[in-house]
Amino acid sequence: MSVLARRDRALTPEETEALLRDRLGDGIIGSTLAHRMFTVHVAPSAWVDTFTRCRDEPLLDFDLFDTLHGVDAREDGFDVVAILYSTSTGNRLCLRTRCEGGRDTPVCPSLNDVYRGANWMERETWDMFGIEFPGHPALEPRILTVENFEGWPLRKDFHLASRVAKPWPGVKEPAELDEDGNVIERVPGIGDAPGPYVLDEAMAAQAIALRQVSAAIDAAAGNEAAVASAEPTVSDATMPEASAPASGTAASTDPAAAADAARTADEQRRAQAEARARKAAERAADETPEEQA
């Protein structure tokens, strides 16, 4: 079969949606055509036979299975997006469905026996989002992350530990000099929220959770005073090395150095986390463009 053989008889997006709607009835919820991409929203119940229909209909003939991936849809759970392409008609169709089971047990039927390519894609979506695919032969073991990795990385409530542990170098405001020229030690103020990006309250929650961990380490490691210099200068170069291990990853730094780093990073973390939450709210309020000299 040569490429684009039936380009002239390719269906327009409206015709495709009409064809699918009459084949699947209420399985098709709706469709959007934006940014040169035609998306059809499918009910999870009709997910599998939509794909069988797309593959087998002579008019549609979507034979190339492009991709399948998950998207975090904030409170109402997760979406699964798949993209098909037809080598004969040159059409591309994006199918999107909302997984049942909300945020804690998202479930989406598996396409493994419709397209061979879906096998690994679904394993990766499970590895990244924790979306179950009943009917998939072998979701275990995790395809990309370490076998014993806890947490689903691409969920929005999974936060990157290094960004929490390391204070952001960009936050250092110029220090004032008193009259005889030595630097006034500046108490870290509200504005020291690290990161130009809006990190939400969940970040603060995770910081508090981490604090329980470091408190436990504190108790275990005896009571020498935590040398928390207000302005960590040289140490932050080595800080990333001893960054607090992300939830559960087996970054095999020796425990003593990790505990120590966790304790010295403890004060900044607590200050930053609360500051961040307030700063986020404040910034969202006035949305003034942050001008710089």
Binding site: S2, R36, F65, T87, Y115, N119, L144
Partner: protein
């Protein structure tokens, strides 16, 4: 043969270089022993950290189970913490043999969402750099596929060509492997003086050295013996797996998004797609060599079409993609690279999915390796061109 799932747990526990995991099976009179051999994760045959566990009967392979994820760096999560300029710097590190083409995809996706019109000269420069990048990628795979089969020299000749091209691209972009030369509105800075003349010279030099590879590798009887009819891939299986690029062209289907969905200025020049017959290792290699010649022809056409004018669009202080989602597909050297970008209007993307060609191409390996001999399996592994960073992202 007795049931296979008994052997399933056999495959679980094998770490590289473990002792013999022999389990006596077989119902007939001759009691045979199946051995599971783990190739990788740090094995000279695989380019980088890609592990395959073969379940073998003698030297014949019954089943293969690729184990990936050794190079998973979590790009999609990092992309959600970076603005588009910083993503441009990080995205070329995934398929490290086609750095420029990776950046190009992200730039096109954001420009498509912003409906931003890129100056014509920038489009021609982008095409020129993408084609040079394709030649760099293919030269590397000529060397490494020949190395898989035991021929050392093609790698040395291929890298001699690569050094000339890398020097050329470094004079314009500043980098040898990761160029960071793309920008949302075009390219960062214009070409240095004398670049086009140097590009023509290097193109002529590379074209004059291509016959070396035909004589040294393609025509060699031992190479033919090792690759003809090894691991044939039918077209429908390839499409269902999502295999694209040289592996798909070798099966006989000329699906190349520079031809079917021309982006940039590929519509104005003619792009020929070399095609194989039965998709075996030999055809994949022949298609690779053919694609280098096609890219050289395209580069010569670009030299004639190059126009003058600005090379980038004036950008606002902070590039923000509007609400909504888009999908852009470009023809990467290894296959078709798709970017699914969903943005919530902020400065960082809400979700950036990278549909990489190697991830789908590698899914074809268990199908191809079934029932082959071990040396053939290594030859197939070498002939399905993949980059591990592209698989694991």
């Amino acid at each position: 043969m007795s049931d296979l799932d008994v052997r399933e747990q056999l495959l679980q526990g094998t770490a590289p270089g473990e002792g013999l995991a022999i389990e006596l099976v077989g119902d007939g009179d001759l009691v045979t022993a199946d051995m599971s051999l783990s190739i990788g994760p740090a094995h000279p045959a695989t380019h980088g950290v890609f592990r395959v566990v073969f379940e073998m009967d003698g030297e014949r392979i019954l089943r293969a189970k690729p184990v990936i994820g050794y190079m998973h760096r979590g790009f999609e999560k990092l992309a959600e913490y970076r603005d588009y300029r910083q993503i441009m710097a990080l995205v070329n590190r995934h398929d490290w043999l086609s750095g420029f083409s990776n950046e190009l995809g992200v730039a096109l996706a954001v420009e498509q969402m912003l409906e931003m019109e890129v100056p014509e000269r920038a489009q021609w420069i982008r095409m020129l750099m993408a084609e040079w990048n394709r030649i760099l990628n293919h030269l590397m795979f000529i060397g490494s596929f020949a190395l898989e089969l035991g021929a050392i020299t093609p790698m040395f000749y291929a890298f001699r060509e690569r050094e000339d091209i890398q020097h050329l691209m470094e004079s314009a972009t500043g980098g040898r492997l990761h160029f960071t030369y793309n920008q949302v509105g075009g390219v960062k800075i214009d070409l240095p003086r004398g670049f086009l003349a140097e590009s023509a010279r290097v193109s002529k030099l590379t074209r004059s050295r291509m016959p070396d590879y035909d004589d040294l590798v393609l025509g060699n009887e031992i190479f033919r013996g090792r690759t003809v009819d090894i691991g044939p891939l039918p077209t429908d299986v390839a499409l269902s797996l999502g295999v694209t690029g040289p592996a798909l062209h070798a099966t006989g289907l000329a699906e190349d998004s520079r031809v079917t969905e021309p982006y940039l200025k590929y519509g104005d020049i003619d792009v020929e797609v070399p095609v194989g017959r039965n998709g075996d290792a030999y055809d994949r290699f022949a298609v690779l060599l053919g694609r280098i010649r096609v890219s050289l022809d395209i580069i010569d056409q670009i030299h004639d079409h190059m126009t003058s004018g600005p090379v980038n669009q004036k950008l606002p202080k902070m590039v923000k993609a509007p609400e909504g989602a888009t999908y852009v597909r470009t023809e990467n050297p290894l296959g078709q690279l798709g970017y699914w970008l969903e943005s919530d209007g902020g400065r960082t993307p809400w979700r950036l999915k990278m549909r990489t060609p190697s991830f789908s191409n590698v899914q074809a390996i268990p199908y191809l390796v079934q029932g082959q001999l071990l040396p053939d399996a290594i030859s197939i592994l070498g002939s399905v061109f993949f980059v591990v960073g592209d698989i694991d992202r």
